[in-house]
Symmetry: C2
Subunit: 180 residues, 2 copies
């Protein structure tokens, strides 16, 4: 499956509304609990997505287009969401995510990227050489990895409540595969 | 974590809008592709959720309240979604899921279940004795298991497009844990 920029944008544009429909005004039992010490709640996940909008995807795309492989991307702070979300409500985070995502997609569309631009290369601080196409595809897949995580974290809260059905629910067998 | 009926209803009420926000008018690359032969696409998953609204959750709750442990639930047809979705568009399925879920939640609320009702017992054809509380908690967790599956199926479409980032994306390490 090749990367298709229109498909990527179509997905990226929908994630904020999907999270909003799922999470807004949902009881905190679902949104503020995690899977145990050092793990993330739905609230933390939205904070992480916001931090990515500010420091990860478009800043890296612009670095790649400006500097190619010569200047690596800045490392991403996986704990940056803690500062992003301090003192804020989930409602505020959902609004902020929607606004930042919309602004970033406006900026992405304004680049008018052509097929040959997508082949341009930059340097990831750990992964080495990557293409713009890979970076943008990852932006979309990263939304999905956190939707996957979010559904698992929420399902975890009913792990015991479902009684014997737990063995039929795939999400309750998911160990998380790394941190997300 | 105890089961809380209000929390269950809050989640169940939001799933149709969340799926609608994510999937409506999304390119078919995301919604009609699966993970390989015999697996489900996002389209199939919505069809399965519809089939559950018709034949699984409320029919089982009513059977339990009417017959207790004496008459087991009818077995659920895990391929029932094929008939549900035949000849329909994803837009039609999303509308149908929202309508059926709303009707079922109206019916659930009208039962005015008290705490002691939630302890009442019925019989699952394979799992044996289960409580109404477990059945209703499972209805909510089942939404989440399919949101988990959906995000994995969609991410699978970009498995190669993300290049070296694949090792950072937990959803791409998820093997599915049973069929969903």
């Amino acid at each position: 499956m090749e990367h298709d920029l229109d498909h990527t944008i179509a997905l990226l544009a929908r994630t904020p509304a999907a999270l909003n429909a799922l999470l807004r005004d949902l009881p905190e039992m679902w949104t503020r609990r995690n899977e145990g010490e050092g793990t993330w709640s739905a609230f933390d996940i939205v904070g992480h997505l916001i931090h990515g909008e500010r420091t990860d995807w478009m800043p890296r795309a612009k670095r790649l287009l400006q500097s190619g492989e010569t200047q690596p991307f800045d490392p991403f702070d996986r704990l940056g969401h803690v500062r992003e979300s301090e003192g804020k409500s989930l409602t505020e985070l959902l609004d902020e995510f929607a606004r930042l995502r919309s602004e970033n997609l406006d900026e992405l569309r304004a680049l008018n990227l052509r097929q040959e631009d997508l082949k341009r290369r930059g340097r990831h601080p750990a992964l080495g050489v990557v293409t713009l196409s890979e970076l943008l595809a990852t932006w979309a897949a990263h939304d999905l990895t956190h939707l996957h995580q979010l559904s698992r974290v929420m399902a975890h809260q009913y792990r015991h409540a479902v009684g014997p059905w737990s063995k039929y629910l795939g999400v309750l067998q998911c160990a998380g595969h790394s941190s997300s």
